[in-house]
Symmetry: C2
Subunit: 330 residues, 2 copies
DNA sequence: CAACAATTTGAAAACGTTTTCATCAATAAC
DNA sequence: GTTATTGATGAAAACGTTTTCAAATTGTTG
């Protein structure tokens, strides 16, 4: 029963030294082309495959990156992660995926884990609390955040300001004046979208009517339901992510109200269901794949040149107009 | 600038040998409790963290498993993978996620990659073609398949036979007779569901009316559209996964037909949108989290005891009755 | 032709662990 | 009282690479 061949066996088979074989395989031009061919032939003949653990130990490069998201079941993160994995495997890099569940303790734990794995870098969607917890500590790998900002880490996210401008402008153009907003309170993104919403409303000379809430379906359904029951519902509602949008829609439906006649509804995140419900919902579609791809590119960049100054990339979303925000008739 | 402390530093600090420190940290009861405490204290004081690469090289255990799915953006695989990752991290094991895109070449490539990573095992959702490609080769890690069977590998999947029985029984009970079926042709699961459908139909003395097709939304939409245009539509239609169900619904809607009055619709996979569309769709909900959890458990089991005979676990799905299959009135 | 630079190679160290093997003391068995 | 047995420890080998350093060869320059 033959042992798996090591670089040593290749060396023996080709009559060369360990060092030469290693260099030939690394293909960094430090070895005579003729001998390199000899090595390659011998390796091929033996069916040699490198031992990655040994390589990583010696070279101190794990060829691995970390990806910490809130929950992979959120379609936004699913799409982003797919883009990141595509890019990573293309470059021979592995991805370690972790779900933080928006839990600061888990975030901290996984970041520590990443240190032990000696990853080359981490892509991360931090909660608000992460900022505080992480403020002091410094990592021996670069950090890129997606969707949400954190300290002085590079960041790639939707252009929230532009997105809320588009939504508010669209609603105003269609005759809505009393426009309410729902924004998450666990991430910097909720804050950013809230602020953008307020400024867009002011630009139109309108009074903002915003709620900050835990970004879950249940919380949104409850909150919107209470507003509706209280009888002071706005003419239109903007929900700042997929889950709150869903909660809002359920609350409205539950009470037998019509969209958009009784209340118009729009949101962020072009999830599959938003197009399938009746009426279909107007949303800002995030460039999810592009976000992942860009994050990966930025990470590679910074691994290569750590001294670069901080970069914040804001990608434009696309306003997808559907029936839930038809021009106001009343 | 202090170097990161190694086990050597811990040994020096505690006045013990490398070996003893290693054993103390492994906590396998081979060391005096008192000295173990001394080691732990020293490690804590120095902020020692083990070097995983070194550990993996020496112990030949990567503490990593592979997960190869068709596409993580498919909600079924998203949910399963979440369960697997939860279970894995709980046991201190990493997961390497790969997307095969139902491409046999990618499947083969990732399996080779897994060999190089020296994973302890792999969880895999193989295409039909994988069977042929893999038939000969043998891996130095155990393989568990999910959703689809492959050769003599352990398998955990939905109880397809029971699921289609439930669907057909339900439709028949509600007065439908001419029941059509759409089944994927790239996986063993499509085959299994098709066969189960046929046998259920026969059991009721009905004539099966099945199509095998590429399991994409577009293909299903096209095919169902053609059937509808040709005017020989069945009274009810069963779609064997989320994507074909979506395609079928679009084709029906596109032609302005009513569900279930003109044609009833039911499927497999309780994706979020199936509950939100009008009318909501009757489906078999797969125990996705349970499938992932069970797969992980089986893998651990087999890593521990490789000699076990083959195991096939069929988990029951839940029939979720909604409006798309209301009792037939005509 | 001597001196120096560039290219190519090999011997051996290093990476940070785990594991094997031997040692030693203390206890148990005869 | 000797001999096994057990328990705890340390020295050193091993895991399979990459990297450092020196040596050997070749080519280049003055």
């Amino acid at each position: 029963m033959a042992m798996k061949p090591s670089i040593k066996d290749v060396a023996a088979a080709s009559g060369l030294s360990l060092a030469t074989v290693s260099r030939a395989l690394a293909d960094n031009g430090l070895v005579n082309e003729q001998t390199r061919q000899k090595v390659l032939a011998a390796a091929e003949a033996l069916g040699y495959r490198p031992n990655l653990q040994a390589r990583r130990l010696r070279s101190k490069q794990s060829q691995t990156i970390g990806l910490i998201v809130a929950d992979i079941r959120n379609p936004f993160f699913t799409a982003v992660s797919r883009a990141i994995e595509d890019a990573a495997y293309r470059e021979g890099i592995r991805v370690l995926l972790c779900n933080s569940d928006e839990d600061p303790a888990k975030e901290a734990m996984y970041l520590r884990l990443m240190q032990e794995e000696q990853v080359g870098g981490v892509i991360f969607s931090p909660t608000l609390s992460a900022a505080a917890a992480i403020a002091g500590t410094t990592f021996d790998f670069p950090l890129i955040t997606i969707d949400r900002a954190l300290g002085d880490a590079d960041c790639v996210a939707l252009n929230n300001h532009e997105a809320l401008d588009k939504l508010v402008d669209h609603l105003v153009a269609n005759g809505y004046r009393r426009i309410g907003g729902l924004f998450g309170n666990t991430s910097a993104t909720g804050q950013a979208r809230h602020d953008a919403y307020v400024s867009a409303m002011h630009r139109h000379g309108l009074t903002p009517d915003a709620h900050r809430l835990v970004p879950t379906m249940d919380a949104a359904q409850q909150l919107v339901g209470d507003r509706l029951d209280a009888g002071d519902a706005p003419e239109a509602l903007i929900a700042s992510n997929g889950l709150t949008l869903l909660g809002a829609m359920r609350a409205i439906r539950q009470r037998g109200l019509r969209i958009p006649d009784d209340i118009a509804l729009a949101g962020i995140d072009n999830e599959a269901w938003t197009e399938l419900v009746e009426p279909a919902l107007t949303v800002i579609g995030q460039p999810t794949y592009d976000i992942g791809d860009t994050a990966m590119r930025m990470l590679m960049n910074r691994i290569h040149e750590p001294a670069l100054s901080r970069r914040v990339v804001a990608l434009s979303g696309e306003l997808i107009v559907r029936d839930s925000t038809r021009p106001r008739t009343a």
